[in-house]
Subunit: 398 residues, 2 copies
Amino acid sequence: MITQRYRDMLKERSVIRQLSEWSTARGAEIGYDNVFDFSLGNPSVPCPPHFTAVCQRLLQNPDTVALHGYSPSATLPQVRAAVAASLQKRFGLPYTAQHIFMTCGAAGALAHALRCVGTPGQEVLTVAPFFPEYGPYAEGAGLTLKVVPPCTADFQIDFAALEALLTENTAAVLINSPNNPSGAVYSEQTLRRLAALLAAAGERHGHHIFLISDEPYREITYSGPVPYPARYYADTITCYSFSKSLSIPGERIGYLAANPACEAAGDIVAICTQISRGTGHNCPASLLQLAVAECLEDTSDLGVYAANMALLYDELKGLGFNVVRPGGTFYIFPQALEPDSIAFCEKAKKYDLALVPGDSFGCPGWFRMAYCIPTEKLRRSFPALERFVRGEYGIARV
Amino acid sequence: MITQRYRDMLKERSVIRQLSEWSTARGAEIGYDNVFDFSLGNPSVPCPPHFTAVCQRLLQNPDTVALHGYSPSATLPQVRAAVAASLQKRFGLPYTAQHIFMTCGAAGALAHALRCVGTPGQEVLTVAPFFPEYGPYAEGAGLTLKVVPPCTADFQIDFAALEALLTENTAAVLINSPNNPSGAVYSEQTLRRLAALLAAAGERHGHHIFLISDEPYREITYSGPVPYPARYYADTITCYSFSKSLSIPGERIGYLAANPACEAAGDIVAICTQISRGTGHNCPASLLQLAVAECLEDTSDLGVYAANMALLYDELKGLGFNVVRPGGTFYIFPQALEPDSIAFCEKAKKYDLALVPGDSFGCPGWFRMAYCIPTEKLRRSFPALERFVRGEYGIARV
């Protein structure tokens, strides 16, 4: 019979989903162009023409049996080698093919990483604000997600709070830099301190504590290369997706990279192949594995996100918002103008603004705006923002 | 730290994998063309040119943001509608888009179906001989796989044995027709009897018992359309893959179809979207969803499998093997010439024959041959087969 557990989950309504439905419905009334939908983190720039050209060329291979054939369960060896070489070149760690496992996006990578390092019943820590799907990811692996409260001054890490949650039952710490929703990039200093803390805790508890680094926004950065977490801590598993860098989120392609210096580094991919057997993952599409292997140093034209960020940050500051300037991603995360950010975002709808309350990200009182929208539309949203804060909170431009 | 459970799994060596490695090594010595590798179930015929043309055309869409964008979590609605219409036309059940969930191959479909109908701790029954990955699939969903012993006379179902295993703790019965490894197609009579038995058991135990029908070989049939299990039993979830029909196993694309008359039929796709959140599945690649939607009535040229089956069946009969004529798939499953089929297959290697012992499929004493190889090579294997049975068992051609 139908399992009650998942039936119960149907009653939980995703706030982002509801907002998106509201935007669609409101768009049907007044034209979608007039709804300022900041709810969805969908890339809005085209994929690189090179990606399309590579797919087209691959499809000209007359040996379709080879082209569309099964991947080995560890995924395609030449693709793993190409990813390893690129990571080695960029970040200076001695990755080889044996440390790389191609996955269906970062979600697939995280599903494997969590099962790899956590035994059901253990805990995984993450830092607020955090991507809400970390909850189901952890639960699916039989782990309990514990949340470190946010450090709202700069959205780095509150280390005292993290330390208080680290116990002998902690399997891993899951971070996301550049961060969805805050846009924060963890500094070298943050990563060094985190590494020292995890190493000490591992020593104290007599087992390795893994760092799982979720990096789908790595290439969307506004101040040079993002510090690469695996460089600071040996027991790091990096989870990557090409969704944002190549604007191909629907193609579900990414990878897991085990730091060559981590515990059981040489076995992690083999362990992932065992995990896949139980989850129905079984490799991403061969065509897409082959395609991204030729586009590892490509990105879409990500400049629009930088332009939008600068415009929106200035506008929010001008309206008096308390907001940290994002270091990357296409999100910004200001403080709401009342403590109840759900009420705040509800009121915004009256001005045709779709804003996501921070409650969904473990950070009530704040809200997320995804500015991966056309710059022209972003500009048009500013008068609506201004009407909103003046109309509801009596705040005039500073 | 690295999970012991999956580490332990690394010690289990897959028999098929070992055979494949042996074939590769032996091929390096004598030329792969001279190794008669019947171990791997990989399609050997090209994909339909129409599939390639559709992919090429889709990639010409200048709106790459739409083409490569996120699927809704229930997968692409127009693709689901197309699959529903095709199934409705072919099998006469009133499927609509709401009953269809696109998956990463049949493995993805089975992972969802098992979690959907089974609560951890329950049991799922399957019928020997069976695809060995059903073990990890069930275990991954927290279920125990119980195996109904084989009915070696015709590889239909031993109903007395099935009935003996059905308890109030049975969540589902998992079948595979046409069957890997036996090639058997379940007859209408078998499916009617199975339906009656499951309905009675469900009544007795006060809950629905689901039939999960794994159908990747549905289109490879040697005597007209395969009876469609969902037509005989309302509580059926059909799991399909395009891997074999379109010869694209590496592209990982298939679907789950809930019989519109099953328990909670209208909720099953929504439940699948919840299941995906915990497994990292998150929709198959958009490009491939869109491509197969235009190729639902296409198949590769599957005639070579029929030709090979007829040749091989006659040869095995001629050598005196006890063998059931396959109704579909590209497998045949004869009885070994000694009770120990592992020893039998080991001896076959001396004649450069890679045969898979039935032990892997819950059916010791028998062995599987995958005849998805070029017909020319199949013919060349016959002298080796003859030398093998004469040399090891003193059996001459009848």
